[in-house]
């Protein structure tokens, strides 16, 4: 048993920053500078809850040396502290904003750092619990559940980010759908073309050099530069083929963005497929052929299933990266959540930037986790590593 230094440092830093740094920031309207608000002033009794949770987590972390079995208690305390941050902040924002429709209350560094510190403590405590323990699962679900419950109860309506979202609900939904279509569609097309391309590379050594140069080259050239370089040929293509012009293939709009995202997805997927097929253990293939499988059978029953985890990992990376890179589509008028980001940058409206960037990051993270889970189910249990 040793002191849990990570949890101690996290909970301690969380306590200090929640107490000493501005917890919220109040702006009379969207553009004006914020006035710092401290936790002890605006949270009232709630601040006691947070301070107690952080202090208790720090004490539990330090006491680990003497008493085993404190990890569960630490998980509970730091999880409770973390889960209560957002509802408490929302309630405080409601009081601060009062009746003003234009006043904005946003999170201050105290809130962010308290969340980060308690999060680190929670991670460190729960890491040592058995992997399937109910407490660990509850801790993982409690935080999003608390946030969602507070949101549905209208408690968060006065936080500036939520105000921004509510005032643009329709645009947000439309851009979200567009973002998903652009990123998901290009990645799906990238997989549909990239996997056969990787297979062809595996079968025909002659193409390998060329494609591997293209793969590494396209990953090196900046996305924005590639996007810029594509504008001229796309415009020419749209002009030359009237049908393509009618469906929106122009120098600006969704077409160049889609092509860039497609290329970014295509090349890693093809590269991974090629590498995965080549990395299949030769003795498994030897055994398959030696037992009388035809080439086709050996490919379908042995080589492809064995290569599948790596191929799917490439697809997952491509989907995740595309969810993020699709921000840039807004620069060429292609729409998506980047529209909010660049509008926010142009208007110097931090809330709008935050809304666009945070929702994009959440999408990328969600895509990554969801595909990890789905692909895990698709892979034979004999090939799975223990951790998800």
């Amino acid at each position: 048993m040793t002191v849990d230094w990570i949890a101690l440092a996290g909970a301690g830093a969380g306590l200090v920053s929640a107490a000493a740094l501005p917890f919220l920031s109040l702006r009379p309207n969207r553009i004006l500078a914020g006035v710092p608000q401290y936790a002890m002033e605006v949270l009232g009794a709630g601040s006691v809850l947070i301070f107690t949770a952080a202090a208790a987590a720090a004490v539990l972390a330090a006491l680990r040396r003497r008493h085993s079995g404190l990890d569960a208690a630490g998980t509970l305390v730091s999880g409770a502290g973390l889960a209560s941050l957002l509802p408490l902040a929302g309630a405080a924002a409601d009081r601060l904003a009062g009746d003003s429709a234009v006043a904005r209350v946003s999170a201050g560094p105290g809130l962010w750092l308290a969340a980060a510190g308690l999060g680190a403590a929670l991670f460190s405590f729960s890491r040592r619990l058995p992997s399937r323990s109910a407490l660990r699962l509850a801790a993982a679900l409690a935080i999003p559940a608390a946030a969602a419950a507070a949101g549905l109860a209208g408690l968060l309506d006065d936080l500036s980010l939520v105000r921004e979202l509510l005032s643009r609900r329709d645009t947000f939904t439309a851009e979200l759908v567009r973002h998903l279509a652009l990123a998901g569609g290009s990645a799906a097309l990238g997989a549909a073309v990239g996997i056969p391309l990787g297979l062809a590379m595996h079968r025909r050594p002659r193409w390998r050099g060329l494609i591997s140069v293209a793969v590494s080259g396209a990953q090196v050239i900046p996305t924005l530069s590639l996007l810029g370089l594509l504008i001229v040929p796309m415009a020419a293509l749209g002009a030359a083929v009237p049908y393509l012009g009618r469906i929106g293939v122009r120098g600006v709009g969704w077409a160049p963005a889609f092509v860039v995202l497609f290329l970014y997805a295509l090349l890693p997927i093809a590269g991974n497929t090629f590498a995965a097929l080549g990395a299949v253990a030769p003795e498994a293939l030897d055994a398959a052929r030696g037992m009388g499988m035809s080439r086709r059978q050996a490919f379908l029953r042995v080589q492809a299933p064995l290569a599948l985890p790596v191929i799917l990992a490439g697809v997952r990376t491509a989907f995740t990266a595309n969810m993020g890179n699709a921000i840039l589509a807004a620069l060429v008028g292609g729409g998506g959540l980047g529209t909010l980001v660049f509008l926010g940058l142009a208007q110097a409206a931090p809330d709008l930037i935050l809304l666009g960037a945070l929702s994009t990051s959440t999408l990328a993270l969600a895509a990554d986790r969801a595909l990890a889970l789905a692909f895990r189910l698709a892979v034979s249990r004999g090939l799975r590593s223990e951790a998800p």
């Binding site: 003795e283 055994a287 052929r289 499988m293 035809s294 059978q297 034979s380 090939l383």
Partner: protein
């Protein structure tokens, strides 16, 4: 049952197999032994067309193998390799069932057969649902043998099948395999570079060097013609054998008290050379000799592992 006629196979300018002739009778276990790189694996792989010879012909049941489509040929020949090559994405049961499924045998029949095969190699039917990554080296080798036997092929090709496990497990697997072979009487071509393994298993031994079969005979025949030659040809492949002829049995024997008596063991004089002793063991297919002193009294026992151990320990 299997006949190799004047097989030649080159890779680039190197001749892996250089005119090899070999015949294996039905139900016989032939061990093909030789130093690494002598072409023994290549020769074995011509029998199921994993390697196509440049010239020469392989016959199985009197028919040239090139007249069979390779896949059909292979489904009728069991195949076990050193790295086992279990498919990691299939359970143990599915691995064993691969060839029966390729042959289109019906499901109920396959399930029963998988259990019987696992039992045959000393694993209970519960093993069927495990994954290859959960197996130890020895267990994986057993599954490999079960998989090769699953379609009940009359012929088995085994390429150093017990080569990648520790020595104790290897001896156990060899004994178990010998017991299986005594029941099933498969025609087996077994490649190894382990002298002990060859002596323990072989009905006939084929010694191979530089792509050719130097000698092919029963262990008894090796000894009957000239014991010196046997050991020389046989062991001289990889190691210096001088040391064995200079060492005497009395130097390594175990006192009778240490291991107890074994009345059935052939006897040898304590003054005989270790080379002679090894020849006798090979001829009688035993791993233990009873040692007598100059007056014919029992002086102790000599075990094969001690002979080979002494000799391997020498520089």
């Amino acid at each position: 049952m299997i006949r190799f006629r004047n097989i030649v196979k080159s890779y680039g300018s190197a001749r892996a197999v250089d005119g090899a002739d070999l015949e294996i009778a039905p139900g016989e276990l032939c061990v093909l032994i030789g130093p690494s790189g002598c072409g023994k694996s290549t020769l074995l792989r011509t029998a199921n067309r994993m390697v196509e010879p440049d010239s020469g012909e392989v016959f199985v049941d009197g028919r040239p193998v090139r007249e069979h489509p390779p896949e059909e040929l292979r489904r009728g020949i069991g195949y076990v390799i050193q790295s086992v090559g279990l498919f990691p994405h299939m359970t143990v049961g599915d691995n064993v069932a691969v060839v029966p499924r390729l042959l289109g045998i019906d499901k109920g029949e396959i399930a029963g057969r998988v259990d019987r095969m696992l039992e045959l190699v000393g694993l209970s039917p519960e093993w069927s649902s495990r994954w290859p990554r959960e197996l130890s080296g020895g267990e994986a080798q057993r599954v490999g043998v079960a998989r090769a036997l699953a379609a009940d092929p009359p012929i088995l090709l085994m390429d150093e099948p017990f080569g990648s496990v520790d020595p104790l497990t290897r001896v156990r697997l060899q004994r178990e395999f010998l017991a299986i072979q005594r029941r099933l009487h498969k025609t087996v071509l077994f490649v190894t570079h382990d002298v002990e393994e060859a002596i323990r298993l072989a009905d006939r031994i084929a010694v191979m060097r530089s792509g050719r079969i130097l000698r092919h005979a029963t262990p008894e025949e090796f000894v009957a013609t000239d014991a010196e030659d046997f050991v020389g040809e046989f062991l001289g492949l990889e190691y210096g054998v001088e040391i064995l002829s200079r060492r005497r049995v009395r130097e390594v024997l175990r006192p009778a008290a240490e291991i107890g008596s074994d009345p059935g063991a052939p006897s040898i004089r304590a003054e005989a050379s270790l080379k002679e002793a090894l020849g006798l063991m090979a001829a009688r297919r035993v791993e233990c000799l009873s040692v007598t002193d100059g007056e014919g009294r029992r002086a102790g026992s000599l075990r094969m592992e001690d002979v080979l151990g002494t000799w391997k320990a020498c520089p």
